[in-house]
């Protein structure tokens, strides 16, 4: 079983963090994983994306043209990658920032008002984590407890104050 993800959005939305957490959880659970970031000047303010592959077998290409899962956190990302989602794949879209719906009938689309929810729940900057909760719930790729364990484990002691917010955001996305 192999699942390929593209996480895409703007710099500062925690796109790379989301991708890394997905890869890290897979690694800790004994799966093969790759995390391929976009890099260069665009990491500052422009578009940001990364490709993650999680597999029970050996991973060939870490670069993916048709992802099983697209996480689109802004409109340019939706426009660029939505047509590329593999048949039978899933779109996760931040519907606060993307006012479009997918017209495709061969994919599943999950609309999560992640940014709006973050603002409502005093979780500014945690829209990406809310989205991760929704991804776990809808794909079943990892259990929420194990994901949460490694999410908490990635937060350095100096930022321990963020642990509760991360947990809250993850649960919020999961329970939608």
């Amino acid at each position: 079983m192999t699942t390929t993800f593209i996480f895409a959005g703007s710099g500062g939305q925690g796109i790379q963090f989301s991708g890394k957490q997905m890869a890290k959880t897979g690694m800790h659970l004994g799966k093969n994983v790759t995390f391929l970031p976009s890099y260069g000047p665009e990491m500052r303010g422009g578009t940001s994306n990364c490709t993650v592959v999680v597999s029970d077998g050996e991973i060939g290409s870490p670069s993916v043209s048709s992802p099983d899962v697209l996480v689109a956190m802004n409109l340019p990302s939706f426009d660029k990658f939505e047509p590329k989602i593999a048949k039978g794949g899933t779109l996760f879209c931040d519907s606060t920032l993307v006012d479009k719906k997918s017209a495709r009938e061969d994919i599943k689309a999950v609309y999560v008002p992640a940014t709006g929810l973050a603002n409502e729940h005093d979780l500014m900057g945690f829209a990406n984590v809310i989205m991760l909760g929704a991804i776990l719930k809808n794909t079943g790729i990892f259990g929420i407890e194990e994901f949460e364990e490694f999410l908490v484990g990635s937060i350095p002691p100096s930022r321990a104050a963020l642990i509760e917010k991360n947990k809250k955001a993850l649960r919020l996305g999961w329970e939608l």
């Binding site: 890394k20 890869a23 890290k24 690694m27 800790h28 004994g30 093969n32 994983v33 790759t34 995390f35 391929l36 970031p37 890099y39 260069g40 050996e58 991973i59 060939g60 290409s61 870490p62 670069s63 043209s65």
Partner: protein, 353 residues
């Protein structure tokens, strides 16, 4: 829970070098390899080593030459334009028979080119990395794990044969993260560096590290002696990986990140009924030419897949030596070939067989 850590390729190089006993790094920042220097700058002072940011790539390679002359395990790393600048020093290092590690995390060229991954420096690494008759041992990792293990191995190979080794990676491998296990790198028995210029301490005659031989017969002798060592490397150190070549009609040849795409593509082709296989050179020099020639007895066609306009394909043709047709598919300028494109290329060849 496994012992693995999720790490960037560039950081894996740095950590592996330190665990292999390399405590000195000389370099200059350039995308997409800068994380190597940054990692070294953070870690080396903590373990009694030194990361020195040089004023130029030229200075960095010459600092490396000085460290290596004095018998110290040391390295530099850069990306394509920086390696061009280092080429002078690399030639001197080869001419002085000094072991060291040079890392090239390739980006698109020529000129300033771009910062996305490429394999356009194959010719440079295997043919023209400096003036004169010289070779480098060139290792091509294709995973973050190999970024680490081949870094460690490159130092030992360099010491064993008293010659510079190059790790030829690319921006994708440098930037991507994968789990790495640092616990097991086999170590070689290494020769003593009796030639090092670190002060005679009154115990031996003076050593000279030098590449100048004004009399042509002397220079020729020194080169012939060096080529005897190169012949030994060619005889004993060729490394490659084969995937489903036993019954393959079409053998793909690809290295580095491209080999992984090729691996996915041969699986796709087999699903569609075309028997494809892969030979992945791990050493680009010495090149696995003997094995490729053997495969030409069973396979019907070869396809070299590269992130360039076709450089390694020359070596594939030389190895196959006219026995079978050799074709090429590549993307260049920082574009990574897709699994679909490569599969389509295999299918096209499959139809023509």
């Amino acid at each position: 829970m496994s012992e693995k850590v999720l790490m960037k390729g560039n950081e894996a190089i740095a950590e592996a070098a330190i665990s292999a006993g390399c405590l000195y790094f000389f370099g200059y920042p350039i995308t997409p390899q800068t994380e190597v220097a940054e990692y070294m700058a953070r870690r080396l002072p903590k373990v009694g080593g030194l990361c020195l940011q040089a004023e130029s790539e030229v200075a960095a390679i010459n600092m490396l030459m000085g460290a290596s002359s004095a018998g110290t395990r040391a390295m530099t790393s850069s990306s394509s334009p920086g390696i061009s600048l280092k080429s002078e020093g690399i030639s001197y290092i080869a001419g002085c028979d000094l072991p060291c590690l040079i890392v090239n995390v390739q980006r698109g060229g020529p000129g300033l080119g771009g910062i996305q991954p490429s394999q356009q420096d194959y010719y440079q690494a295997t043919r023209g990395v400096g003036h004169g008759d010289l070779r480098l041992i060139v290792l091509a990792p294709s995973s973050v794990q190999e970024m680490a293990s081949l870094t460690a191995e490159a130092f030992d190979l360099a010491d064993t044969y008293r010659m510079p080794a190059m790790l030829l990676a690319d921006g994708a491998l440098g930037q991507m993260m994968e789990p790495v296990d640092f616990s097991v790198f086999p170590k070689r028995e290494l020769p003593e560096k009796t030639w090092a210029t670190n002060g005679t301490k009154g115990k031996r005659k003076k050593n000279i590290v030098n590449s100048l031989f004004i009399e042509p017969d002397k220079l020729e002798q020194s080169i012939l002696a060096r080529y005897e060592r190169y012949a030994k490397v060619e005889a004993e150190e060729v490394r490659f990986e084969e995937v489903m070549t036993e019954d393959a009609d079409i053998v793909l040849v690809a290295f580095g990140i491209t080999a992984r795409i090729a691996k996915s593509a041969i699986a796709e082709a087999r699903k569609a009924g075309v028997k494809a296989g892969l030979l992945r050179p791990i050493t680009l020099w010495p090149f696995p030419k003997k094995r490729l020639n053997e495969l030409a007895d069973t396979a019907k066609a070869f396809l070299s897949v590269e992130m360039s306009m076709g450089q390694m394909v020359d070596d594939v043709r030389l190895a196959v030596n006219g026995k079978r047709p050799v074709s090429f598919f590549g993307r260049t300028g920082g574009m990574i070939p897709s699994v679909e494109e490569v599969t389509a290329e295999i299918m096209k060849i499959g139809e023509s067989l």
